[in-house]
């Protein structure tokens, strides 16, 4: 099955202009997103995440390289009918919410009665029914973000491109969006999600890519990335707490962390000292740890 979204050695440069140097937003960027997955796209500000999404939608063109979305070259208008997009900075017309969602649905070729029912459903899904007749320009940021999601979902897309879709939502709203994305995936659809909320990505995404300065730095299944290949956590009992460096002892259980290459030796030491091994697990890290490690920042510090 062909990938839903595919970047092939894409480079995007913004030309130098008077007093403005040339900016390379993406460099030899290659990535594939498969059908039916929620794909997390991470990177610090200016890493190239938004540029990558804009290239797929045809807002801008790659300087080099090429890509395909839903089997067609980037920017194909017919393909965009099967895509929902939420921009990082939500900017919509100041119209009543229901009319606004109808407008965007109609631009994607929906007509009544399907348009009316799709609009009603999506307003209910995004809990906007009560605000359906309120002017979108007078809604709070969080509500506006819901409207942006509603206009992206009204055409029942096969692919959702979401650029920071929950940044203005309250925790309840985030949970609702997370559940929505999971239902979307269960229906065999695909989500390409950019977010700075790493815990959200960690919870919901099947795969994660981390991009920094226009280059892909890490790509993999979320659980594999989170399980460190470098360190293991060992928990044992009936051993001296000071027998190993960096141990913590609680209720007779001694916990310590060793590099993977010393794992065997550490286990043998536990056994040889008469201890009982309780568990040995790869050390689980947070996505934030990995993210900070890749972008070269120490928590609370400057560049490493």
């Amino acid at each position: 099955m062909p990938p839903v979204l595919e970047y092939q050695n894409v480079t995007k440069e913004y030309r130098a202009a008077w007093r403005r140097p040339m900016v390379r937003a993406l460099e030899e960027f290659s990535l594939t997103v498969d059908r039916g997955e929620i794909f997390g796209f991470l990177g610090p500000n200016g890493a190239g995440k938004t540029t990558a999404m804009h290239l797929a939608l045809g807002f801008t063109r790659p300087t080099r390289g090429r890509g395909r979305m839903l089997g067609a070259r980037f920017g194909n208008p017919k393909t965009r009918r099967r895509v929902g997009f939420v921009a990082e900075n939500v900017a919509l017309y100041h119209r009543p919410t229901r009319k606004l969602v109808r407008f965007y649905g109609a631009l994607n070729g929906l007509r009544d009665p399907q348009l009316a029912s799709a609009t009603r459903e999506v307003l209910e899904t995004m809990e906007l029914s009560e605000a359906a007749d309120r002017n979108a320009g007078k809604l709070s940021r969080g509500m506006l973000q819901r409207v942006a999601l509603a206009q992206a979902l009204v055409n029942d897309p096969d692919l959702l491109l979401l650029d920071e879709p929950t940044s203005a939502l309250d925790p309840l709203g985030r949970v609702a969006v997370r559940e929505l994305l999971q239902r979307f995936r269960a229906a065999g659809k695909t989500v390409f999600l950019s977010s700075h909320l790493l815990s959200e990505i960690e919870t919901v995404c099947d795969r994660v890519a981390i991009i920094h300065r226009g280059r892909l730095r890490r790509l993999g299944r979320t659980h594999e990335l989170l399980e460190s290949a470098e360190q293991v956590e060992i928990v044992a009992r009936r051993i001296q707490a000071h027998a190993f460096a960096g141990t913590t002892a609680v209720d007779g259980l001694v916990r310590f962390v060793v590099p993977v290459r010393q794992q065997r030796a550490a286990i043998e030491r536990v056994w040889s000292s008469g201890g009982e091994l309780i568990r040995v697990n790869p050390l689980r890290r947070s996505l934030e740890d990995i993210f900070l490690e890749i972008v070269g920042e120490k928590p609370g510090g400057g560049e490493a």
Binding site: Y14, T50, T51, H54, L57, G58, F59, T60, R61, P77, K78, T79, R80, R81, V83, F85, A87, N89, A91, L92, Y93, R95, F103, Y104, A106, L107, N108, G109, A148, Q151
Partner: protein, 232 residues
């Protein structure tokens, strides 16, 4: 269908400017005519009110794209299943809808004025139609320049180009003048009298071709423009 949707949406976005312009037309024109005007005054009034519409068309067309990019609303529209050509056609359609309303006001004003000076009513509506052609030319040229220039430069460039057409037409042979739509329409407007409007089918077709050519040129330029970056 998408073009009409975009056009109606654009009209809605421009409603306050249009309301002010139509209010000016009705209040100023009404006061002028109510005061008692000669046939010549009436003719000057209609042409001057129509020329405001030309300026309005040029300004609206030159700033439409810029405003959409500045507010980033262009992204939510172009992320849908429409082409950039449809998007530009939608904007042009919206401008023409707005100016269609203005022309209706102009025609109504002309009818009232014609009745007051006991002149035939039809020329006033023909003049309104002629102004619609002028609006279309001004809007298409303004839109073309706005695809690669700042609105102020775009409207200046459009004014220069249309002025150059008039200048060129005034120095061309009579047989060539009809082939320069800007000049042909200018001449028809200049020669307007409450008794008759002189406009040929050739002028109408040339004006439509002129607008179509600039719209196509706009589409070509806009199809390669980067809309992802915000403009100031």
């Amino acid at each position: 269908m998408s073009i009409l949707l975009l056009g109606v949406n654009f009209l809605r976005e421009q409603r306050w400017g249009l309301i002010v312009l139509v209010a000016y037309l009705l209040v100023f024109g009404g006061a002028f005519l109510a005061g008692g005007a000669s046939a010549e005054d009436f003719s000057v009034l209609l042409r001057s009110l129509g020329s405001y519409g030309i300026a309005f068309a040029g300004l609206m067309a030159a700033s439409a794209l810029h405003n959409e990019r500045r507010t980033r609303r262009v992204l939510s529209v172009l992320s849908k299943g429409i082409t950039r050509a449809e998007y530009l056609a939608g904007a042009l359609c919206g401008i023409m809808l707005a100016l269609g309303i203005y022309s209706l006001g102009l025609g109504a004003m002309g009818t009232w004025g014609a009745l007051r000076i006991h002149a035939p009513v039809l020329p006033a509506w023909e003049l309104a139609g002629l102004f619609m052609l002028a609006f279309l030319i001004a809007a298409s040229v303004g839109q073309f320049f706005s695809t690669f220039l700042h609105p102020m430069l775009a409207v200046s460039a459009a004014a220069l180009l249309l002025s150059a057409e008039v200048l060129l037409g005034s120095r061309a042979e009579a047989s060539m003048q009809a082939l320069i739509p800007g000049y042909a329409i200018y001449l028809s407007l200049l020669q307007f009298s409450p008794a008759a409007v002189s406009v040929t089918l050739q002028t109408i077709l040339m004006a439509l071709a002129h607008a179509a050519a600039f719209w196509v040129a706009s589409c070509i330029v806009f199809s390669v423009r980067d809309v992802s970056a915000a403009v100031e």
